[in-house]
């Protein structure tokens, strides 16, 4: 019934990631809903958006000043009778008589007949006349309709995640709402008899369950709606029940734990008979991985160690999830290492927690220079979860590398 993903046993990282991305890519075709413009922030456009109007909508003044016919001010200085004022928002339909001027505010419609605007700095008003010191050519300080955007022009393409600048442009052409894709829905199932909820007192052998909270935060931060976070004991019946609920409510399911070589590997025990492929990916941390399709829903099974879980998410899930949500791709850099990597396991790609070092020169506060180097935050041990809090990057040490000196150039992924 379920397609059987190719074996993951000792597969290279990129190859395994490709398998996952192939399974998740069909989620790009999701339900569409209409949302009001201010709530559309961060949502992903379902269709190309074209302007319904010309912008500017009408011929208007680019300055506070006086609208005239250019022919009336050729022989400046010249004094013209002032026949009125056009505020921004006025209909501006009264034609301008030849040889006269009308006061206009920035953005006000130009009266029919007027073809240029004299900035207020080049004039002297005196009661019902205005003296123009300097002539202007037809068209000067006039904004013609449609010079910014024409009705029908493309403003944003389907798939774009709307940022404030997109919202500003779509609002400026008067769109009250837009069609956006529903977010990808994910369910999380953590496993392990030894895990207990935060805030309880630990009994001997117990540890806190952090993967549910951590994966939920990571999913939410990458445009995914988390529909459930549940925890299973090592009892296969319990896991099966939670799996069934998860696959019926979500587009993709994430599990943590129960995938390695031990005696109580509940995830592997339940999913392998359903066609799941469990094995080792050539990476550290995060080697043991599983991939299953249950009733059409991809189930990604990460190892249970908190750092392994989060590195697995970064390497295998985050790029494709951001792509599906229309969010900016994960930034990568090639940077010199500030600290040496004394050893790295040959044959395994190692992902070290790193801290970006940024340039400082002459930048005002509140602005950040781009990174110029990276330093290693902690050793390779997969249990060093606290180091995650201090790291803002992953350092990608290739599989064939056994050691790196300080100064070596490494590929770095922004966290």
């Amino acid at each position: 019934m379920n397609p059987r993903p190719a074996s993951v046993s000792t597969r290279p990282v990129d190859d395994y990631r490709d398998s996952i991305e192939q399974l998740l890519r069909p989620l790009a075709a999701r339900a569409v809903e209409s949302v009001l413009m201010p709530e559309a922030l961060g949502r992903q456009l379902a269709d190309d958006v074209r302007s319904p109007i010309d912008l500017p909508v009408f011929r208007n003044s680019a300055m506070d000043g006086y609208a005239v016919r250019a022919e009336s001010v050729v022989l400046a200085p010249v004094t013209l009778p002032l026949v009125g004022v056009v505020a921004a928002g006025a209909p501006g339909r009264t034609p301008l008589p030849p040889g006269s001027a009308v006061k206009v505010m920035t953005g006000a419609p130009l009266p029919p007949g007027a073809d240029c605007v004299i900035p207020v700095e080049d004039t002297h008003a005196d009661g019902d006349t205005v003296t123009v010191e300097r002539g202007r050519n037809a068209g000067e300080y006039v904004r013609e309709p449609g010079t910014d955007v024409r009705a029908g022009d493309l403003l944003a393409t389907a798939g774009t995640a709307l940022t404030p600048r997109h919202i500003a442009a779509l609002a400026a052409v008067g769109l009250p709402m837009v069609a956006v894709f529903a977010a990808v829905r994910a369910a999380v199932i953590t496993t392990g008899d030894e895990l207990v909820a935060a805030g309880t007192i630990l009994r001997p052998g117990q540890i806190y369950n952090s993967n549910g909270t951590a994966l939920a935060a990571a999913l939410a931060a990458n445009g995914v709606t988390v529909v459930s976070v549940s925890h299973s004991t090592d009892d296969p019946a319990r896991f099966r029940t939670l799996l069934s609920a998860a696959t019926s409510a979500a587009d993709v399911v994430f599990t943590s734990g129960g995938v390695s070589q031990g005696d109580f590997e509940v995830v592997k025990e339940v999913l392998e008979p359903l066609g799941g492929q469990f094995g080792s990916v050539a990476m550290q941390p995060g080697g043991p991985q599983g991939l299953t399709v249950v009733g059409g829903v991809p189930v990604l099974s990460f190892p249970g160690n908190p750092v392994s879980t989060m590195v697995s998410f970064e390497v295998f899930a985050r790029p494709i999830l951001r792509h599906l949500a229309g969010l900016a791709a994960v930034e990568t850099y090639e940077l010199p290492l500030r600290t040496a990597v004394p050893r790295s396991p040959v044959g395994k790609r190692q992902f070290l927690r790193g801290k970006l070092i940024r340039g400082q020169s002459g930048e005002p506060p509140g602005r950040l220079r781009h990174p110029i180097a990276v330093e290693v935050v902690s050793g390779p041990g997969s249990h060093l979860v606290a180091s995650m809090a201090w790291a803002d990057a992953l350092i990608d040490v290739p599989a064939e590398v056994s050691t790196l000196p300080a100064g070596a150039t490494v590929r770095v992924w922004s966290l």
Copy 2:
């Protein structure tokens, strides 16, 4: 009553930005609330967070394998009696008799007396015995308590905006909730008789009101809670009413429009008598600016043109608001121009809409190379709001520059 900000007449950009930042910086002292960990994503820690526990909590196995005393396996290969199994989560309190082995899963507590773990690959189990092929030293494959973090160690500092990696670390030490600052509260008042709501039919002279929607989106995207968005006509009584409501509900108020040299400048008319400083900042777009403190609440008055409003927000408000929210600072780059800037007004710092050009070489999909150059998206006209949708950067052209050739290095701000 209200402190009078220094005059803004033809002030340099940095100088005016400093005045605004000085007025907003006291908002760092805000109310504190406790939130459950999964909802703490993106919120700003009110206090330093220290670990309440050692991590690992107890001495445990780093591998699936057999826990032994190192002295029992010095003369490997050696066959030992197997006295039990310790799963992850078991209390693990039964001492290991000398000269025996116990099966342990990764993460399981080491029985008292055991001092190393033999990985399962180096063993052969046969019923109730296990043959160890290779000896190990005391401590090998054993995770000692507190080697990741000690009770009392600092995990994250006050002011940090919590990302998934922080949430993962705080969850791993069992914290169910954290103390975070309340968000900065902002109110937005747009002004202008010519503005009408999106979705209505334009009458002659009217344009759509986009600044309320655009500023609300920009504020929300930078960690600010928007408490109200209202629109005032050019009637001072109406503006006064909305201003009073805004200053009583918000920590900071943003207005758009009504600040330049025309006849119907409602913002300037109402705020100047309250001590507001209105004048021109040496920049384009966004020159006319106003700054007032009303009843202790800073009121930032931006010009009404949509592009001027958004550039004003980027230059004057976004860096300090991100700082107050604990969010990452705005990234800046120094990049070569792909396209020339034929003219720039001397004496005014010009902010051009730009598009970053990124490196491509050999990057898998879903990962983004850092920018290598920038191109200009549109001319300097301040009415080109649609260009905002296509730009992802501001190009900062210094005041003294009149023209820039392609290839010149420019300062660029990420939008």
